[in-house]
């Protein structure tokens, strides 16, 4: 029964990881930018929802769209007026500039919000339901469902809307998309904004199931990276699934092997996947 409970907890956390990684995968797949500041945007989204809840008394789930819109705007401006200036230089430069952004955002957050741990703790946080001896924490379950809803909305948007088609066309061939009337500067900014907005929404959910500090960014970036590679850039379902797999592996490893070994497992797995299946990795690189 313990095993089933651990699996359940892992799955619930993993859904959230999946949503977080979707934002990174979108930016990576379409813009070919590996956004090292992704985790920092997740952190800022967490603060958005925290202050909407603690300061203004808005229900955290109702605050998720606010976090999404605020982070979307930030992402749009950053891409339009900074990242767009360098997207055609060496690939390494996009890594560097997003790393610089990560440092700036982390320390701005430290100055503005202090290093205190913040948890988004609505009145129903402690509620849970017991089904066949399994405890289902309601808040975590709701966060899991919300993550899936966001992921589904993103998928529908990419498949069905004009903007979604333009984004997918750009991912395939920028020159051809341009010929069909796509304005790349605007489209890049919109795509980056979407990726950052998703990070923001995921951050709000993360704040409900865990704690937000200015320093959570780096690990979350690394986690999104691992999940994105496991899931594959062009496959959103694969990414959500990979997020759940990582969540379960983390939960299992910390209980059965000890928390000091969780990194060996998740990063060792990453290296193994890359070594054993380089064909797929090289094709999408």
């Amino acid at each position: 029964m313990l095993l089933a409970q651990i699996l359940l907890n892992g799955v619930l956390l993993g859904g959230l990881y999946g949503l977080m990684a979707l934002g990174m995968a979108l930016v990576w797949g379409v813009l070919n930018i590996v956004n090292l500041a992704h985790g920092a945007f997740v952190m800022l989204g967490g603060y958005c929802v925290y202050f909407a809840f603690a300061g203004l008394g808005i229900d955290p789930f109702a605050a998720l769209p606010i976090a999404f819109v605020a982070m979307f705007a930030l992402g749009y401006v950053l891409q339009r007026y900074a990242l767009n200036l360098i997207v055609r230089s060496a690939q390494l430069n996009t890594l560097l500039i997003t790393f610089g952004l990560d440092v700036v955002l982390t320390y701005l957050a430290q100055l503005a919000f202090t290093a205190d741990f913040r948890t988004i703790n609505p009145s129903y946080a402690g509620a849970n339901v017991t089904i066949f001896e399994l405890t289902l924490p309601l808040l975590r379950f709701a966060a899991f469902i919300a993550a899936l809803i966001f992921a589904a909305l993103l998928w529908v948007m990419l498949q069905r809307t004009r903007l979604g088609r333009a984004i997918r066309a750009t991912a395939q061939n920028l020159t051809a998309a341009r010929l069909y009337g796509v304005d790349p500067a605007r489209l890049y900014a919109l795509t980056f904004g979407l990726g950052v907005g998703i990070a923001g929404a995921a951050g709000g959910l993360y704040g409900m199931v865990s704690q937000v500090t200015p320093y959570i960014g780096a690990t979350l970036t690394a986690k999104s990276f691992v999940i994105t590679i496991m899931g594959g850039l062009e496959n959103p379902f694969g990414i959500v699934l990979a997020g759940i797999v990582i969540g379960v592996i983390e939960a299992l490893a910390s209980i059965y092997i000890g928390p000091t070994f969780t990194d060996v497992i998740s990063f060792g797995l990453l290296v193994l996947i890359l070594i054993l299946r380089p064909a797929r990795s090289m094709r999408t690189a």
Partner: protein, 313 residues
Amino acid sequence: MLRWVVPLVCVIALAALPLTGDDVLIQYGIDALLFATLAQAWNILGGFTGYVSFGNSSFYGLGTYGTAIAMAQLHWPFGVGLALGALLAVACAVLFGIPILRLRGHYFAIATLGLSATLAAIIANLDISGKNIGLILPLTRADNAFYEEALLLLIAATATVAWIAKSRFGTALLAIREDEDAALVMGINTTRYKIAALALSAFFTSIAGGIHAYWITFVDPAGAFDLTLNVRMVIMAMFGGPGTVFGPLVGAFVLSTVYDVLASSISTAAALLFGLVIVLAVIFMPRGLWDLAGGFRRDGARYFLQNIRAHRL
């Protein structure tokens, strides 16, 4: 003529620095020299072939722990410790280089990142390396000796890069950076060259780690396999000018100084400004200080606009 005089004068001036007897200056000097060595070592693979390695922190960690285990656990002398660390790092570079160097772009970067994290976690669980607590090395108070060792190491690394830049080996590495498939078609054994570059990079990185370990007399997994250290190597090399002989040194010295001055005057905002410097540098001088020097003399302030025009969407 000038090409030899300027470096020679710099080396003599640096070697004479301990004569000032200024402890703070010497300690800053050891740090800056070791950072410059790390940036230069990263440059061998990253600058010349364009393969962005985040695995250099694993070579640094192996060098650190090789020295620490030899001295603290086995009571061997410092020199043997350095050799052990270098052996571990080069073996690791060759062993993991073979599968990992088949990956390209971001995938290579993340595989090396994974390698560092895995090694750090393994070291943190071994008895011989003192698990999470770390090891304490025998205490020595010989900052001047450490300073001269770090200087010698930096000279060796730079001389190696200078040789690479002029040799067939370096030309092959540059060909890999420009177009790896074309290099392959031209008959260059790209795998062998990349592994050799990674092994050289690992060698210098591990020795720097060993010197640092003995200097501060304490090692732990978080410090030895610190990823931000690797990021600093990359930034220093990029900031100075990747794929050049002296660019990484200039980048390392300038950024070390900027960071130390900021950290002592406005501590909390230092990291913030450091991040801003990186963002602005990438936008306005994407090919580093070394290129800026020539470009600015040629075009003046228009150099910055030209960079933006060349790389924007």
